[in-house]
Symmetry: C2
Subunit: 268 residues, 2 copies
């Protein structure tokens, strides 16, 4: 089946387009490089702004079917590459032969207002210096599953659109606003203005009780090794910890975020 | 400071001992290769059976202090290696220059009886074909944090003593019995004989309610992509799902296991 869309065919490794794609892994330039059928489809279904579709001969038919299905591909550039070139621009060990360059959603990159869902019971997950991309992706997925209003990233948190975060989020990065909030003080001011109670996950906090959560709320999760900074937990209205009677001192950050997510969502 | 213990000094890359250590990464032979100060210390504090301690010149003093502190090192073999050899046998990108070969605890490798904590309210986490070592390690850490009686691994679950699982478990693999249970039918028989209610995490299950959990209990978590097999969920007494109102269809397996862990532990 011949695709009904125009495409460039690139076979030379030194083609500027190949170099540009390789460079994207180091400097994203507000773009997100996503690879594999599943991640691409997640983005397409969410109506992401697709700049380029890169594919091998084996995936021509698949890309053609996507072109027919998804409006967001109408102004994209299509590039057919050899298997060798695809491996060169790929970030995975077993490349599937289809990838897309997608614009990072503009509204997510910075913000000074809070997204609200109209319920008056919004829940926000705030991360501070979460370093493991698998953890961040899992947290974004959790926030999406429990219908939070946004995930807010304080400085020091890893790149939310890296390949590992995208994979761990299983498409949730396209469903929920992800906001990089540069100035912590304005965030707390914004929460205060919106009557959002702030909770810090903290080993010295009081034990989490399911019926003592006030919404709207934001809960703060800190770095995997060091937790929240004293400054941040000091600014929060309440410190909470998950009751644990075993030998492990703490849960994994994303696991803790999920327990909190469940409890907060129950109060909605 | 000169260590007060005898040690071999190895500087040749072709030394049989070096080859043996490299081979361990492929064929563990009931041993666990652990690396880095933190993981080694976790094992030492749990009284693990240490076969060998491998260290570089920079870590001689540290190892000497461990020798003074930990009884479990009294019959270990100590091997001083060059930085180059340590890098060769290392499984990490930035080797810390200290590693140990530890015997996999024999009681954990197979079992036909259930560890019990005497409360009559034991909780067991059972995994079926959990493939991601980070997820398995996180689940083991969760089970330890909530004082479960064991983590039981059905066939298809990844190696619980691989480097990635050890790291994600943060030492919990040494705190809680980890049982590879080969025959699923005998496991269900054993649960039945001990009046353990079995719960399957399942998207078609009824919604988790905090006060409807009966202990002792075991909950089953399935493969990241496919969930539990029909056969396994069919054998469980109840199917449960975590209530979610957002767009993500499911939580990460380890995140779900943590939410369940929190709810089950609350009923203890």
């Amino acid at each position: 089946m011949k695709p009904d869309f125009g495409y460039l065919s690139v076979s030379g490794k030194d083609n500027p387009l190949v170099k540009e794609l390789v460079r994207l892994h180091k400097d994203r330039n507000n773009c997100v490089y996503i690879e594999g059928t599943r991640l691409c489809r997640d983005a397409l279904e969410s109506g992401a702004e697709v700049v380029k579709v890169v594919f091998t001969e084996d995936n021509k038919e698949l890309v053609s079917s996507w072109y027919g299905l998804f409006e967001c591909l109408k102004s994209s550039e299509f590039v057919l590459v050899t298997d060798i070139i695809f491996r060169k621009v790929s970030s995975t060990v077993n490349p599937q032969g289809v990838a897309m360059v997608v614009k990072e959603p503009e509204i997510y990159s910075t913000a000074s207002t809070l997204p609200q869902d109209g319920s008056g019971k919004d829940i926000y997950l705030v991360t501070e210096a979460v370093q493991d991309p698998g953890n961040l992706g899992t947290m974004i997925r959790t926030a999406d599953a429990f219908a939070f209003s946004a995930v807010i990233l304080l400085p020091g948190t890893c790149d939310p659109f890296s390949d590992k975060v995208l994979r761990a989020s299983m498409g949730s990065v396209w469903h929920i606003p992800i906001i990089k909030w540069e100035d912590k003080d304005t965030l707390f001011e914004c929460f205060k203005a919106n009557k959002v109670t702030t909770y810090a996950m903290h080993l010295k906090g009081s034990e989490l009780k399911d019926n003592e959560i006030e919404l709207p709320a934001a809960y703060f999760i800190g770095n995997e090794g060091n937790g929240l900074t004293d400054d941040t937990s000091g600014k929060c209205d309440r410190l909470l910890k998950i009751p644990m009677s075993g030998k492990a001192e703490s849960l994994n950050a994303a696991a803790a975020a999920s327990v909190m997510g469940y409890v907060f969502a129950k109060n909605k």
